[in-house]
């Protein structure tokens, strides 16, 4: 049967990998290609790589880096950052990337989702929602959380599905780097609004956090940054990932769970 996906999410800034807290400046955690090689050895389910400066700096994706990462990856790869045109989707897929993610351009130009799906296929079009919670509820933000919108995540995800997206990534700005667990209330809202595959990012601090997401929602993508690049209370950089036995334990949680 189909298994839940456990996904390391790497953030690129200035050619290196960083890990942020609350979408802040971030701590340097190493070289992207070196990290990919280690994740190959650990046989990760999927890998997500986000260039978090491309949109803010108004530049195109770094194709040379994407090609190097894609040819090194022995697992499926999702790339996001700075993608604004259909041709860029096509070029990134031609470099060997399975999925291309957009966030700011899905907000500013929703038609891009449909146009991209017509050529690269819906399965390769991923929409990332950076979500912030405040007194008024949940809303989407763009440009590393600096620009507000009045878009609400449930309605937006259902609109993205109608336009032809293939996956929704729900990224909690409030939980980013906090390592205190996913925002399950946010997950519940989005999951009820769309029948697309979901991947949840922001807040995983332990394998138990992933297991509890899987226990609640079964087949879902559980993504994490800090959890897979830091070890211990001092957040020492150490790339890690659950081994096959530990992973089977998490996946066992998805069977026989209480179905909604």
């Amino acid at each position: 049967m189909l298994r839940p996906r456990i996904i390391p999410c790497l953030l690129i800034r200035g050619g290196g990998l960083v890990k942020t807290v609350g979408f802040g400046p971030g701590k340097y955690v190493g070289d992207p290609l070196n990290a990919v090689r280690i994740f190959n050895e650990k046989e990760v389910d999927e890998l997500t790589v986000l260039d978090i400066d491309a949109t803010v700096e108004k530049r195109e994706p770094n194709y040379a880096l994407i090609r190097d990462i894609a040819s090194e990856c022995r697992m499926p790869l999702c790339y996001g950052g700075g993608v604004t045109k259909v041709e860029e989707f096509q070029r990134i897929v031609s470099l060997g990337v399975e999925k291309v993610a957009i966030s700011a351009s899905a907000v500013s130009n929703p038609g891009l989702v449909s146009k991209a799906a017509e050529t690269v296929g819906a399965q390769s079009v991923v929409v990332v929602m950076d979500v912030k919670k405040d007194a008024g509820g949940y809303t989407l933000r763009t440009h590393n959380g600096t620009r507000t919108t009045d878009l609400e995540p449930a309605g937006f995800s259902s609109r993205m599905q109608e336009l032809g997206a293939g996956e929704i990534v729900v990224n909690s700005i409030d939980r980013d780097g906090e390592m205190k667990g996913y925002d399950l209330e946010l997950v519940a809202r989005v999951r009820a609004a769309t029948s697309l595959p979901l991947t949840i990012l922001g807040g995983a601090g332990s394998i138990d956090d992933i297991a509890s997401l899987v226990r609640s929602y079964g087949i879902i993508g559980a993504a994490a940054g800090s959890l897979f690049v830091f070890k211990g209370v001092y957040r020492a950089v150490l790339i890690n990932y659950p081994g096959p036995v530990q992973k089977d334990g998490i996946i066992a949680a998805s069977h026989g769970r209480n179905r909604e």
């Binding site: 189909l2 022995r74 790869l77 060997g96 029948s195």
Partner: protein, 204 residues
């Protein structure tokens, strides 16, 4: 020598890298001249059906590919949309397929789905081969591979199904007719299982 058809879709470099690490000769073909005379061919693919067919038609390699597969009976492996292109056509598009295996590419029927079976079918799923030799030689059953698709290959003849996978019911995750093989999953992105399958194809 295994030749990978490089028509701008699919992870040709990842496939080539796997062969290089295994010490198995492999190369990319971008033109009909480079493809001509290939002993064994891989047709990869990521994308919508019509887009993939258009890119293959525009590559100028379609005629040579047909000759290699239909006339010279060279082994060919289609991956993901590369496998779907081997059908007569697809519900996803309007263009004609290569027609190497009788069958049609269909969309999963969402009316049979539960809240756990979402489209696209995305992630690692079990693949149960009908024969433990050939392409699946040395792989445990079920073997585990990475899938990313909303459409599947429905062969006219049951005999052409080489492996099946459950997703809201069984579907053909691998097909075979003579020298033509296809896999719906991505062996180039499926760790040890995929490496073994690609190695098996190179020794067919």
């Amino acid at each position: 020598m295994t030749t990978i058809v490089n028509y701008g879709l699919g992870n040709v470099r990842a496939i080539a890298n796997i062969y290089h690490r295994l010490g198995i000769p492999a190369r990319l073909a971008t033109t009909a001249d480079e493809l001509a005379g290939a002993e064994r061919v891989i047709l990869p693919g990521v994308g919508a059906f019509d887009w993939a067919m258009t890119r293959l038609n525009e590559s100028g390699m379609r005629g040579t590919l047909n000759d290699l597969v239909l006339r010279d009976r060279r082994p060919v492996l289609g991956i993901c949309v590369g496998m779907q292109m081997m059908a007569r056509g697809s519900d996803e598009g309007k263009l004609e397929g290569l027609g190497w295996i009788n069958g049609q590419v269909k969309r999963f029927d969402e009316s049979t789905f539960t809240s756990d079976t979402r489209l696209p079918h995305m992630g690692w799923n079990d693949v149960v081969p009908k024969h433990a030799d050939g392409l699946f030689n040395g792989l445990e059953s079920p073997a585990r591979f990475y899938f990313l698709h909303s459409y599947y290959f429905a062969p006219d003849m049951c005999d052409d199904v080489l492996a099946s996978t459950e997703y809201g019911g069984p579907f053909a995750s691998s097909v075979r007719r003579g020298n033509v093989w296809g896999v719906q999953f991505h062996p180039e992105k499926s760790h040890a299982w995929g490496i073994r399958l690609l190695q098996n194809f190179a020794s067919l």
